[in-house]
């Protein structure tokens, strides 16, 4: 079961402490409270969609609230965590599943299939699954955009924001020389390495992808 997405859950010892140092402070309640208005604004956008449906048909029965809730949270998390508008709450995307949400659905569905496979079997399955591979292309496209947006900021801006923004913290944690950093003993490593055997990046601007 110690396979890809669970890497961050299963890591222990100095490796866990290194990751925790970067990520944990950003999720403290005091940092979260500032996002109240942002969450309310996104919720109000969802209300607008509901209103437009009800205006046409006051007795309309909503069958897609599960999808809408996922979208709402995804939108909020994109803004809070990555300072990026994923546009999954846009009016034009109400009836058609947004490209990213569909890709995330496909990613999760294929992941769940591999959940009970031995690690070698899950690796093979994911390598040959067109659904998974297509989903990862879409997801990586969005993650790349987020990183590029963050990297377009000045180093001073990023350094200022890394205390409150997840994406800024992750981007500043990228090592200049990952290979050199990877060869250090675990307790001397700093930041998050993206060239681990399981999580790999294919270029300096690409986010980590699996396998």
């Amino acid at each position: 079961m110690r396979n890809f997405i669970f890497l961050s859950i299963f890591i222990i010892g100095p490796e866990y402490k290194r990751h925790a140092t970067i990520v944990l402070p950003l999720f403290r309640r005091s940092r979260i409270l500032n996002n109240l208005d942002l969450i309310i604004d996104c919720t109000d956008k969802l209300f607008d969609q509901w209103r437009s449906k009800i205006d046409n048909d006051p007795n309309h029965i909503f069958l897609n609230t599960v999808d809408q809730c996922q979208r709402l949270i995804l939108s909020i998390f994109g803004l809070i965590g990555f300072d990026y508008d994923l546009q999954v709450l846009e009016e034009t995307n109400v009836n058609n599943k947004n490209e990213l949400t569909k890709a995330l659905y496909d990613f999760i569905d294929t992941f769940v299939i591999t959940f009970y496979m031995p690690e070698f079997a899950s690796k093979i399955y994911l390598k040959i699954s067109p659904r998974y591979r297509h989903a990862m292309i879409i997801i990586n496209k969005y993650l790349n955009r987020m990183i590029e947006q963050e990297q377009s900021k000045t180093p001073e801006e990023i350094a200022e924001r890394k205390r409150t923004s997840l994406i800024a913290s992750l981007v500043t944690s990228i090592q200049q020389n990952e290979i050199s950093e990877a060869t250090k003993p675990e307790d001397e490593k700093k930041g998050i390495l993206f060239t681990s055997p399981i999580l790999t990046r294919t270029s300096s601007k690409e986010p980590f992808s699996f396998y």
Partner: protein, 199 residues
């Protein structure tokens, strides 16, 4: 980043979906939340107002207990151990799965029937429930790092919803609930009416 995106959206979105479903099924609970909002019903939300919504806290706690979005968590044994009930021998390094749903429905952990959706339990008999009866975010120093954010998001959104809208049951053909087990335990069939409250 992908881990954060998936973990940060799917779990919380699922909890929110269950909240809407439960509101459509339990109008008494929905009315009580709206009553608690009282004079604040159509005003802006502040942190202080949110903190004052203790009944909403109970409803959300009950939502997380009744259907924990995550099926469970995994822990690695640091020493050999033996399960007291079954006598099963466990060894150092073994990975064990802790199912949240089983714990939250275990009658030994609750004074009020755990099969009931009853938020008031957290204000009364089950206020001091078994500490492991409801651990939807896991426990210990490796519990969910996004717990505070998830709880805050859900509370803000649900408070905002209860300020403005009322959810109704869409009927026995479409609002049947049921489980859809993906990475989280999602409601399978939710069909609700939504009406905006008179201001």
């Amino acid at each position: 980043m992908l881990l954060f995106l998936v973990a940060g959206s799917e779990t919380t979105g699922t909890a929110l979906s269950w909240f809407i479903y439960f509101m459509s099924k339990y109008p008494r609970v929905q009315a009580k939340i709206k009553a608690e909002l009282g004079d604040n019903k159509n005003n802006c939300l502040t942190i202080e107002q949110l903190d004052s919504l203790v009944y909403l806290d109970c409803v959300l706690e009950e939502t997380f207990r009744f259907i924990p979005p995550a099926a469970g968590t995994v822990r690695s044994l640091t020493v050999d151990d033996r399960l007291p009930g079954s006598g099963v021998q466990l060894h150092k390094g073994d990975e064990i799965f802790i199912p949240f749903h089983n714990l939250s429905r275990d009658k030994r952990c609750w004074k009020i029937d755990p099969e009931l959706f009853y938020p008031e339990r957290f204000q009364g008999e089950d206020r001091d429930h078994h500490p492991y009866g409801a651990i939807p975010f896991g426990g210990g120093h490796r519990q969910c790092i996004g717990q505070d954010l998830a709880r805050f998001e859900v509370k803000v959104i649900t408070a905002r919803m209860m300020q403005y809208v009322t959810f109704g049951d869409g009927g026995p053909n479409v609002n049947t609930g049921g489980y859809l087990q993906r990475m989280t335990t999602m409601p399978k069939n939710v069909g609700v009416t939504i009406s905006f409250d008179e201001k």
